[in-house]
Symmetry: C2
Subunit: 130 residues, 2 copies
Amino acid sequence: MILKIDHLGIAVKDMMEARRAYEALGFRIEAEHDVPTEKVKAAFITVGESHLELLEPTDPTSAIAKFLEKRSGLHHICVLVDDIEKSMAEMKAAGAHLLDETPRIGAGGCRVAFIHPKSAAGVLLELKQA
Amino acid sequence: MILKIDHLGIAVKDMMEARRAYEALGFRIEAEHDVPTEKVKAAFITVGESHLELLEPTDPTSAIAKFLEKRSGLHHICVLVDDIEKSMAEMKAAGAHLLDETPRIGAGGCRVAFIHPKSAAGVLLELKQA
């Protein structure tokens, strides 16, 4: 079951500049930390029950660095689910193309999995179990 | 004050195909209606306190049609604010570039205003007052 939007991933070239922009808009940056598995640093902004996640690559081989070669801005939607294996099995059975066969470990040690944009009208969709 | 993410606008070329994709992923499409002011039809999906809004252009001159010439998928983030004039004035005073000088009427008769992506790290940001 899909519970809520956990976060929106926003790819940024320059974290300091992005932080200043979001602070000028009245958002409050709450924490910044490295996510070595994704080769990014991430800054979190709470908005209601969800977060905006500013993502700056720390390595040219990260998926965010490759995205930034084309454009900056909205990169993915992450939804919180109660049972990631069950959601993945149901989506797969319904014909969706999953980028992960089994959950992998994402930021904060949570289990996550990605759905291919072609199965979500061009949106890169992440599932996360808390 | 920014209260929550109201919705995420997702530009789609083919509403029926997008609906089928999101239904296969376990999302439930709740309502579809025309938004003549934006020249789109919109289908809403509730996710927690927010919505996904699938947007298909009904006219080649709509902003969504122009976006779809480049790509499909995530188009904008809309945040709910308690006082749109106050938010706009504060953002402008902090140096943000607003696309609207005064609020305009959006879907459902709400007052909305857009922030230029250059002021939000590449994200088209919409403010909405309920």
